[in-house]
Symmetry: C2
Subunit: 386 residues, 2 copies
């Protein structure tokens, strides 16, 4: 709709027609209701956040800064990336105002109306929204077994992947699947955009080497976030990219917000340099592992005759496939009425589907009693609905 | 250029061809050289920044937050806007990650390739860059006397204006000019995008009522910044918009970075609620007024036979029109070699010009001795160049 009132039509951009309300926003608006049990968001535990203070911060951090980010932080991130097997220099690091910004920058860099973009099905819905907003035509693929013929025919401008604790499926690609994905990007010369916000939330031993580290010559962008491992309110993430992309990404960053918050950059650097940091991550993962296991036990009690699922080795979500292919968007209002919020599966799919019978359940937010009660209610609703 | 190597062409978006290196970035890269006298940037004084601390900040500010921003901050900003004569509610306030982000969001909302956009000539070069990147075709206008016939013929999607201490010209529209601009937007039904980052840096009495406050029915977006009046490193700004635009702007904000930094939002709110705040602004303006006057005296000593200028009643810049219409971009490398940086005038113009003979000089950064020495050197260079 290009006008809101017949008296004064406003001429919006064509892309604004693809600017739909976000299902996340609409659900998050109700999860704060008293008594609501939320399996909807991907919110970290409040008690996992550090106690920050600014006493030692130099005043010049309050001045304008570099679009690329603080030199010390970029160097520290480059070192961390190298320890993961990703060869890069500090000059290849761009600090972001959260990893959502990386999605916006990459979309601007590659997507015109009609541009083919390879995406997993399902995948992160806010990435789909942004790519769609810029006009992407989606080419669905399996990140563990991409079909080279399709890629060679469709020539996607890039492939978006969440190889580690995928959102929403929870899947973690194994070593050989990572090799296959990297080889496919190289063979078809498709830039790889690897989104990796959950890597520190690991509960079972599994391969986490960035797929970008296995590329021979395809261009690449790897991005990470401090929202899950430190605190989302700081709105800080980063990307690391192959050198030929950096001048463009840096200019796009400058055009978007000049540079990222320097107070956050300073606070995050202190945390990364804290000798207790790795122990804190172990404790954080231990806390979430326990919640996952409690949640899985409750799932088994209430959903074993209704759905199937994999136990996610990391991340924040269970991805349920119901035995009946219902439209989970229609289940949602009934669940909210009954005091339980979840994420319907359909918005995670790049193609239009009438009903996918899948839903995403966050396990990190609810405690044991809430998980038990919420899943019991949800299972009853599914039984009624089917 | 759509590929960087013949071996692996990368297919970028069409708009990436308009993604040029920013002249600001390139100049800021050299101003840190020891001994360089910089009239280039618009950096606030380091000693004007408050001493921030986080002791009283609630931990939940570290969690994900609302895309619109913190409720208390939005309310406080709406109250401030009302006191300026702009009728609005807190629901019409959107917190931004710096006002550069507002430019990105407005461009996304309105601009397709070829969309006409009304801009002043000269105007803020980073706004021109973003509008151009999204494909705008510029319709230059005089904000103090817009030509309605042109607007009716060209039908710009919106008009961008900096009515108060314009960047780079320093001009402040008087009351009748503000009335004329608002009436023109109403008559042609052109949305007004009013950018107002400098309003607190006032040195001489003048009209500063937002032009948006005078609109009868045209849609509007007014934006402000905390970069000049508090600290740019916090990367915080805001926009206030007519109600019909808010759902779109909020979704665009969410797609861009989910929400703005909550630590910054909390810190800014504490400052806005500080009873000493208005006195601090008076002192800040007094400090800059003194620098302006010292700079003007040095300008008169060295440039009276070379250029003309107005004394800016606020803001951070002198806009010099040289008696000879030289290409000031070609003057710049010689000036930098001689230890003086400034902003050439050409990038501030929406049309391609070979040589405009104008340049922007920041007066807030250099002290009296630097201003004297830098302007003396610059005047000599202009004499040689002409």
């Amino acid at each position: 709709m290009n006008s809101l009132s017949p008296l004064r039509p406003i001429r919006f951009s064509a892309r604004t027609q693809d600017l739909h309300p976000s299902p996340i926003r609409e659900i998050l608006a109700v999860v704060d209701r008293p008594g609501m049990i939320s399996f909807a968001g991907g919110l970290p535990s409040l008690d996992s956040f550090p106690q920050f203070n600014l006493e030692a911060m130099p005043q010049h951090m309050l001045q304008y800064g570099a679009s690329e980010g603080e030199a010390e932080l970029r160097l520290r991130i480059a070192e961390d990336m190298q320890s993961l097997g990703l060869q890069c220099s500090a000059e290849q690091v761009l600090i972001l105002s959260g990893s959502q910004q990386g999605i916006d920058l990459v979309a601007k860099l590659f997507i015109d109306p009609g541009t083919p973009v390879a995406v997993e099905a399902p995948t992160y819905l806010a990435a789909l929204q942004v790519f769609r907003f810029f006009g992407a035509r989606f080419v669905a693929y399996d990140a563990g077994a991409p079909d080279l013929d399709t890629w060679r025919r469709e020539k996607p401008a890039f492939a978006y992947a969440i190889p580690t604790f995928q959102n929403p499926s929870g899947r973690c690609l194994d070593a050989s699947e990572r090799t296959v994905l990297a080889a496919a990007c190289d063979a078809a010369n498709i830039p790889l955009f690897e989104d990796d916000p959950y890597r520190d939330l690991i509960y079972d031993d599994c391969e986490r080497t960035p797929v970008c580290a296995g590329l021979q010559h395809a261009p690449w962008i790897y991005q990470g976030s401090f929202s899950k491992s430190l605190a989302p309110g700081l709105r800080l993430g980063y990307l690391v990219a192959s050198p030929e992309l950096m001048p463009f990404l840096t200019r796009l960053k400058q055009a978007a917000d000049l540079h990222s918050n320097r107070v956050s950059q300073w606070l995050v650097l202190q945390q990364l340099n804290d000798p207790d940091r790795s122990q804190q991550l172990v404790e954080l993962a231990g806390h979430y592992r326990q919640r996952r296991d409690v949640f899985e036990a409750a799932l088994s009690r209430h959903f074993s005759d209704l759905a199937s699922w994999q136990i996610p080795p990391g991340g924040l979500f269970f991805w349920l496939t119901l035995n009946s292919r219902i439209d989970t968007r229609q289940l949602l209002p009934k669940a909210i009425e009954a005091g339980v919020a979840f994420m319907p599966g359909e918005p995670f799919l790049p193609m239009d589907v009438e009903a996918c019978g899948q839903l995403r359940l966050n396990f990190s937010h609810a405690d044991a009693a809430q998980a038990e009660r919420g899943l019991r209610i949800l299972a009853e609703l599914v039984r009624e609905f089917v």
